[in-house]
Amino acid sequence: MIQYAGIILMLIGIYGLLTDKNVIKIIVSLNVFELGLNVFIISVGFVKDGVAPILTSVNNHSGLIFVDPLPQALVLTAIVIGLGTTALGLAFARRIYMKYGTLDLEEIGGNN
């Protein structure tokens, strides 16, 4: 089920954070974690046989069964925030590479 998949993706992301020492791989792990979280958030609002929460000429009145729109709005915010931190993280990664010539945090550890 989708909800389990979300939690498992989050755990995979944390595994990457715990074991990897490469800056880029850490950012990827962070993204996997956030992706899992977003899947989980969306899944919390799902209603079986519910329609997308948009009124159109077909689904035209509020009496229909809609899926919960609030988690979708929250995910939108979470995605944008994730984008911001990822971009900043990549900028740090480029700076680290310029300064030390490597992306491996263990190698950098020695020469501060």
């Binding site: 799902f46 948009i54 035209n60 900043l88």
Partner: protein, 247 residues
């Protein structure tokens, strides 16, 4: 060894999570969310401040928020303050990137030369992508999408130009001015709401008929501003990332 410890730890945490979360009374099974018990019911019926029994597409007029897209009505009206924060997050991270990388004057060279198809094709596709982006953020209150996806599309069109033409450079100052003006206008609209109806970011314009292009009060205005702002911010981010230290 480290990996085995990490896996063991995560299996343990995972087991805790699975048993813990699903043991909570009231945590809905997948697909059985009770929307009626949540605040979302108010968003769907649009009856948070005014009594309202049914919302009908193309018929209902002057509701508390006139957006046909419920997600948009939450993002830009009910919880608009979050969106202001979200825009700020993007603003400050693009600012951080330009502090970190913006000081360089060189431009990263493309690994391989752009071929004829890319060069010509990008010129054809560019206006189409821009148009789609603008369409998406103008129709944010009617259809899926909105300021954030629309703005990203505009930035992707600029990225295409960067990839197809080695000498291409945007005038970043103009984009910064757009970004700054759009952001300021968002806050000013919020303050206008404070002056007119005593609530920051309140929807002080008539909301019109659900489903019409000119409806939903300030929602389309804010989404256009957000779209312009996100587009110019991401363009700035791309430009900063393509810079290189000149030796």
């Amino acid at each position: 060894m480290k990996k085995i410890v990490a896996i063991a730890l995560l299996v343990f945490i995972g087991a805790l999570l699975f048993t813990g979360i699903y043991a909570i009374d009231g945590f809905p099974k997948y697909g059985e969310a009770k929307v009626a018990d949540r605040v979302s019911e108010g968003y769907i019926m649009k009856n948070v401040t005014e009594a309202n029994t049914d919302v009908v597409y193309g018929v209902s007029t002057n509701l508390e928020t006139g957006s046909a897209n419920y997600v948009t009505s939450i993002v830009v009206n009910y919880r608009s303050f979050d969106t202001l924060g979200e825009v700020t997050v993007l603003f400050v991270s693009s600012l951080g990137i330009s502090l970190l990388l913006g000081g360089f004057s060189g431009k990263l060279r493309n690994r391989c030369k752009a071929n004829f198809i890319l060069r010509m094709g990008s010129k054809v596709v560019f206006p189409l992508i821009i148009m789609t982006g603008v369409y998406i953020f103008i129709h944010g209150h009617l259809s899926p999408g909105g300021g954030f996806p629309g703005g990203s599309m505009i930035a992707s069109a600029i990225l295409l130009l960067y990839l197809s033409d080695e000498k291409f450079r945007v005038n970043i100052e103009n984009f910064k001015k757009t970004e700054s003006t759009a952001g300021s206008l968002y806050v000013i609209i919020g303050l206008l709401g404070l002056v007119i109806s005593n609530y920051f970011l309140s929807n002080f314009i008539n909301t019109g008929t659900v489903g019409a292009l000119l409806s939903a009060g300030i929602i389309p205005i804010i989404y256009v501003l957000v779209g312009l702002k996100v587009g110019s911010e991401l363009t700035g981010v791309i430009t900063d990332f393509l810079k290189e230290e000149v030796e």
